[in-house]
């Protein structure tokens, strides 16, 4: 194990993880940069169940290119196959153009995307917690995927189903409801209880 960081969840559990994993969070990174004698970072707003899920995500994403940078921007150091093989390597392949031609990089990123999509196929309550954790800890990739998970829950549902999923009230006035019914009559029944 390389240098490790100790994190304390809101409910007092301690997690020790490699720097590369923990530093996916910009908040943890900046807290660790300040001289912290104990190397213990408290995270009162994240409980252990959520933190362990978050760290599972971070572990998968450590040492991987962010799936949300364009392929062309993946530097060759992160390529799983980077071995400078004689026949394949070309001096004209600058690091910025590396993965456009590198099949291994492309495949690795695609695999990671698949893993991410599976990761957020969870109940909405967990997504909600992941969203808050990703926001609080400033983890870009996790925020992106949790948002996608929440958006997926919305897709294909009618308004009442969406309200149930997100525990929301129909707070339109009767006049407003009438207007909306007129505008969206082409949807199957926006206000079906």
């Amino acid at each position: 194990m390389g240098k490790t960081i100790k994190l304390i969840s809101g409910d007092g559990e301690m997690f020790e993880v490699e720097e590369a994993v923990a530093f996916q969070s910009n908040i943890i990174k900046s807290l660790a940069d300040e001289d912290n004698a104990d190397d213990c970072i408290p995270l009162p707003r994240v409980d252990s169940q959520i933190l362990s899920k978050v760290l599972e995500f971070c572990r998968k994403h450590a040492n991987s290119p962010s799936v949300h940078t364009k392929f062309a921007a993946i530097p060759s150091e992160l390529c799983p196959k980077h071995d400078g093989s004689a026949a394949g390597a070309s001096s004209s392949e600058s690091s910025s153009a590396h993965s456009e031609t590198c099949r291994a990089c492309y495949d690795a990123v695609m695999k990671l995307v698949q893993w991410d999509l599976e990761f957020v196929k969870v109940d909405l309550d967990l997504i909600h917690h992941l969203l808050k954790a990703a926001n609080y800890l400033d983890i870009e990739d996790l925020m992106f995927m949790a948002v996608e998970g929440a958006a997926n829950a919305i897709r294909g549902n009618n308004p009442e189903e969406i309200r149930k999923l997100f525990d929301l009230e129909n707070d339109f006035t009767p006049e407003e409801e009438k207007e909306i019914l007129k505008e969206y009559s082409w949807l199957d029944d926006p206000f079906e209880p």
Partner: protein
């Protein structure tokens, strides 16, 4: 640091330290910061989903207009009494609309009104035009129909434009899309002049694709920033292409007989195909950055093949599938291609795929007995050979054996024996010999 004892109910603990923007409500999503709710809504683009969200609650209704993308799939408004009006209302309320995709049918008059409204923010537009209902011609007789593409010209900030099933036979009269980088036109009927005018209005394109199009005889492209060019023109006719783009990296074309590319370029991926008709001439200048090349077609003039092979000395991955050569209607077999010369001229070849008649043309004019003992095929790792007839079996086997012998890095040779043209004893003998070859080189040779 002392460890705190875990609370028995982590959920309650968690909730009480959450920032609640709506303290009176205990509902889950309400406690999400506004920015996150916006983020989630902005991930949606399907018109039905967006419309559904408008009906969920007041807050969501107010947030929906900020969604930047709207996508109307093919059947999304089936049964809607006035689809155009529905699209119009949604476009009107999307105050910062950046991406608009419409696959369901619409009228060109409506399109003009939507673009007028949103031209200030629109960055990407994708339209299926084959269902478009035009304004009726004012004279009512044989006047040319009002130009459906003209109204797109008002969206001056467009960066990406994709049109399906369009008819570009008269000039669209666009001014200038100086931000347009991606242009894709699919399944279109074109005319030289109209296409040329359209391209003139897009001087800063980096990616151009004209696929499954017809109606062009001559195409001349001069684009300073073009990097990626894909052209697929249907029909057996003799199309000619003249291309001048100093930043060109990828060129994939089908359907041209005369091809001239200004030699100032950086082509690394090149595909030239002609699925019906003939390729007469290919002029590309040198290809110093070439990595991948694919040549396909029924009939190419031999001089076109040999000139392009000559220029492609740096190629690493080469695919050749051409049936015949010949200048005119008569289909001719290929002249002999010397194996040693071929591999000496393409020393960096790493993957090689060759079919039928072209493979049959490989021979060994330079007797290998007199060969410089340093002959080697240095980087070849994978070979795929399709054999279609047992004619000249001995020569073919010699070629296969030589490739095996002189390739120091070869780890896979795949021999595809597709329907043998002459099904007789000769075919069986040939097949037996190939199998023998396989047994002697079992770790490399594979038969399909």
């Amino acid at each position: 640091m002392l460890f705190l004892t875990p609370h028995s109910s982590s959920q309650t603990f968690h909730r009480t330290v959450c920032l609640l923007s709506c303290p009176s409500s205990a509902s889950a999503m309400d406690s999400l910061p506004d920015a996150i709710v916006h983020h989630i809504l902005c991930s949606l683009s399907n018109a039905r989903d967006v419309a559904a969200c408008s009906c969920v609650s007041r807050y969501w209704n107010e947030a929906v207009p900020y969604i930047p993308s709207l996508y109307f799939p093919r059947n999304s408004l089936d049964g809607a009494a006035a689809a155009d009006a529905t699209i119009g209302r949604m476009v009107a309320s999307a105050v910062c609309l950046q991406d608009l995709i419409v696959y369901c049918p619409f009228s060109s008059a409506s399109l003009a009104s939507w673009l007028d409204l949103r031209c200030g923010t629109l960055r990407s537009l994708e339209l299926r035009m084959d269902g478009i209902a035009s304004k009726p011609a004012s004279g009512g007789d044989d006047e040319a129909p009002a130009n459906e593409l003209e109204c797109i010209g008002v969206a001056r900030g467009l960066e990406s434009l994709k049109l399906w099933g369009v008819s570009l036979t008269t000039s669209p009269n666009w001014n200038c899309f100086d931000k347009l980088r991606f242009l894709e036109i699919i399944g279109a009927t074109l005319r030289d002049g109209a296409l040329s005018d359209a391209l003139h209005a897009c001087p800063n394109l980096t990616d151009l694709a004209l696929l499954s199009c017809n109606g062009v005889a001559t195409l001349s492209i001069e684009l300073e920033r073009l990097e990626n060019c894909r052209l697929d023109f249907l029909g057996p006719g003799n199309c000619s292409l003249h291309l001048s783009s100093p930043k060109l990296q990828i060129l994939e074309i089908q359907g041209f007989s005369w091809i001239r590319v200004n030699q100032d370029h950086h082509i690394r991926r090149l595909c030239i195909a002609k699925s019906s008709g003939r390729v007469y001439k290919v002029e590309l200048g040198k290809l110093p950055d070439l990595e991948f090349m694919s040549l396909r077609g029924i009939q190419w003039r031999w001089s076109a093949i040999s000139s392009i092979l000559y220029c492609a000395s740096e190629v690493r991955h080469l695919i050749m599938k051409i049936e015949f050569c010949g200048d005119f209607d008569t289909l001719q077999p290929f002249p002999e291609i010397d194996l040693v010369d071929f591999f000496n001229n393409h020393p960096r070849l790493c993957k090689f795929e060759i079919h039928g008649a072209l493979f049959a043309a490989f021979c060994q004019k330079n007797s290998l007995k007199n060969l410089d003992s340093k002959f080697v095929i240095p980087y070849l790792e994978e070979v795929i050979i399709t054999v279609r007839s047992p004619l000249n079996a001995e020569q073919k086997l010699n070629t296969l054996e030589s490739v095996l012998m002189y390739s120091v890095k070869l780890h896979r040779m795949t021999i595809r024996l597709s329907q043998m043209k002459n099904c007789n004893e000769a075919a069986d003998d040939f097949f037996k010999d190939i199998c023998k070859l396989k047994y002697m080189n079992y770790n490399v040779v594979q038969i399909e």
